[in-house]
Amino acid sequence: MFIVKYRKFFFALSALVIGLSFFAMLTKGFNAGIDFKGGSIIEVSYEARPDFENLKQALDGAGFADARVQMAGDKDVMVKTRSLSEADRQALTTALSLGGTLQMEEKRFSSIGPTIGKELRSKAWLAIVMVILGIVLFIAYAFRHVSEPISSWKYGAITTFTLLHDIIVPAGVFVWLGKEVDTLFVVALLSIMGVSVHDTIVVFDRIRENLKLKISNDFMTTVGTSLRQTFTRSINTSLTVMIVLATLFFFGPASTKDFSLILWIGIAIGTYSSVFIASPLLVELEKRQNRG
């Protein structure tokens, strides 16, 4: 199949995209959300919204000089600042209502202490590592009977590589867009891993079956045939998942918009990698093994 034949092109493409993602992460850095670094966010809705300057002045006066003020919609204002105690929060709302002179409704308030932020951060890393580990072990187990022409742990290794590929790229895109990295972002990455493996397994499973059936003596042909056989399924499944994620993005709650966006990107990349990267990599490994 052409995908296997021109695999070097797809490898190069992925290498380039991964390189760009790392470049984005290194130069722009992650924009950590308040749940990872601690801090607070308040969203208020005014009857008649004051000017940005007035708000900024009021906040400066009340000791919130570091606050970042964002206007949203026609009536709403979002303010991000350090983590606040209850007394601080009251001072903040007073400042936002310009000393009680303006009618406003507090739509949302979150304050997360630095301890919680630190805890969530380390837990997020731990969860990512554990998901990868769990999946690799499972794949190595599921493919334990497949040892010809390449051994089962290589399937596991390639799956891991694909996993990393599938989370690095969406993460890079998010950093590039300057989006906030919060708990839901990590959940999205972990879900992408689940779905990505899902895809890779379906293709590998077909290769496993075709190897058993000995449809060809040539590994490359076997992989190519398996890819062709699972191609429609890969596209259709991803399409349905991407459809529901698109409805979530367009119609769903504001709080899960970024979440559905990153999942959408991740699923697209995941489908691409399971077809264009994972199986061709198997062929590449087999070729190298035979050569030397």
Binding site: D35, L84, E86, R89, Q90, E105, E106, K107, R108, F109, S110, S111, I112, G113, T115, I116, E119, S122, K123, A124, L126, A127, V131, I135, F138, A142, T183, L184, V186, V187, L190, G194, V197, H198, D199, I201, V202, D205, R206, E209, Q229, T232, R233, N236, T237, L239, T240, M242, I243, L245, T247, L248, F250, F251, G252, P253, S255, T256, F259, L263
Partner: protein
């Protein structure tokens, strides 16, 4: 064949029944009109998380440094009870007060208290109510000499005051007539208002825990004939004891009664204060606050439902257009999957959050995957020239390993996510994981039975058209 058809009919009836149950249980769905079975089904409402219902979530760290390690659990349990009692005065419909032990893997062990108040947005009052840590102390009289000195000081002070002399507050006066004991609110299990059987006088009964009982027995034994003063928030400036009953005898067994000249109302207040004073930990520190206004929550909920409905409609449309007859079967299976999931949310009181709805919506997409795998496989078998029946059977058998292996990896992810869990993520992991399991069932059982029940055999051109897919024509 007839057995399969009977099974298929049964599945459809069950699916419709579960669907009706969901319909009857949500008054909004039938515009408030009473429908059959409503009384029963309404006992299982959807449980909405704070981000959908609006409300306050407060996360506290409990300082338990002066509690013995073996008693931390008991202390936290009674802390939860105390906070629950305080919150009940708020009149919140379904408050959640949870204790949580954090750490071990990611840091030192920390005792946490999570308080969720749906529908409340007055954070100020909530924080005041919970955060105040009234301190209840039991104190005994000073020694005779010291007490004399104190009384003299009081006399002198009063005399000076009457004579208009410059006021000097002597140290004895500041120290007060009582000395602290080890006994404090931490050892109080509860206080109850009772009435004397004969005189109808109000009595405040207090019950100590085991350790408290021993301390109380010791204190009463050493202070027969004297008063034991009960102070509330002495260090906040309440210099008068809330009660100073005279000890008549040594009290063993951890039960004591405070009688005195108080009205039933006063006694009731005292009981309330005693109970609220019995905060069994040293300090509560507010770690995080989250507030969502009710309209914002309602908006998020409506948006989530809209997204789920659109997702379902578009996916169903895609399935039917692409896979034709099997697509119709998959759509029916998907519908049954959705009502089953909703029923599970209701039965197991799974809290719905916006992340949970996202997980559910994602699982709708994943649920279809098993069907797609099976149908693609069936089509291959049809191409090889098998009859529909055999092709469908082969399709199911051969797709099974893929479905199993790929779903196991999703379940692994869901389990780890659940463990990772803040309540937000737990909601996602639970709906997603449950969705994967239920969808596996719905794809391989429901779709299978329904497909086999269809009256098609062989591979005539109509059958081929019905079972074909996409833009391709089966040869």
């Amino acid at each position: 064949m007839w057995k399969t058809r009977f099974g298929a009919l049964l599945l459809l009836i069950i699916g419709a029944g579960v669907g009706y149950f969901i319909y009857a249980s949500e008054p909004k769905l039938h515009e408030g009109k009473t429908v059959y079975g409503q009384a029963f089904s309404e006992k299982f409402p959807f449980k909405l998380g704070l981000d959908l219902s609006g409300g306050v979530q407060l996360l506290y760290k409990a300082d338990v440094s002066s509690v013995k390690p073996t008693e931390v659990k008991a202390a936290m349990d009674s802390l939860r009870d105390v906070i629950e009692r305080r919150i009940n005065t708020f009149g919140v419909s379904e408050p959640i007060v949870q204790i949580e032990e954090k750490g071990g893997i990611t840091g030192p062990v920390e005792e946490r208290l999570i308080v969720e108040l749906p529908g409340i947005t007055d954070v100020k009052r909530a924080v005041e109510m919970i955060g105040q840590t009234p301190k209840l102390e039991f104190m005994t009289e000073r020694s005779k000499a010291e007490l004399e000195a104190y009384n003299n000081a009081v006399e002198k002070f009063k005399a000076d005051q009457a004579a208009g002399k410059p006021l000097v507050i002597p140290a004895e006066l500041l120290a007060g007539p009582y000395v602290p004991t080890e006994l404090n609110g931490r050892f109080l299990e509860r206080a109850v208002l009772e009435f004397d059987a004969t005189t109808r006088e109000p009595i405040v009964s207090i019950v100590f825990n085991n350790e408290g009982s021993d301390l109380f027995a010791k204190i009463t034994k050493e202070n027969i004939g004297k008063t034991v003063a009960i102070y509330l928030d002495r260090d906040l400036g309440n210099s008068e004891p809330i009660s100073a009953p005279v000890v008549r005898e040594a009290i063993v067994g951890g039960k004591a009664q405070i009688t005195g000249q108080f009205t039933a109302a006063e006694a009731k207040t005292l009981v309330g204060r005693l109970n609220s004073g019995a905060l069994p930990v040293d300090k509560l520190e507010l770690l995080s606050t989250q507030t969502i206004s009710a309209p914002l929550g309602a908006k998020a909920l409506a948006a989530g439902i809209t997204a789920a409905l659109w997702g379902l409609v578009i996916v169903a449309g895609f399935l039917i257009l692409w896979y034709r007859l099997p697509g119709v079967v998959a759509t029916v299976a998907l519908a049954i999957y959705v009502v089953l999931m909703l029923a599970l949310f209701k039965f197991f009181h799974i809290t719905m959050t916006s992340a949970g709805i996202a997980g559910f919506i994602l699982s709708i997409g994943m649920a279809v995957d098993a069907n797609i795998l099976i149908f693609e496989r069936t089509k291959e078998e049809l191409r090889k020239g098998h009859g529909v029946h055999d092709a469908v059977r082969e399709g199911f058998d051969r797709a099974w390993t893929s479905i199993r292996d790929s779903n196991i990896s999703s379940i692994i992810t869901a389990i780890i996510l659940f463990w990772f869990g803040t309540s937000l993520i737990k909601g996602f992991a639970l709906t997603f994981g449950l969705g994967v399991i239920v969808s596996m069932f719905s794809a391989i059982t429901i779709s299978r039975v329904l497909l086999f029940a269809l009256p098609f055999k062989g591979h005539g051109s109509i059958v081929r058209a019905l079972f074909g897919s996409g833009f391709f024509k089966l040869k």
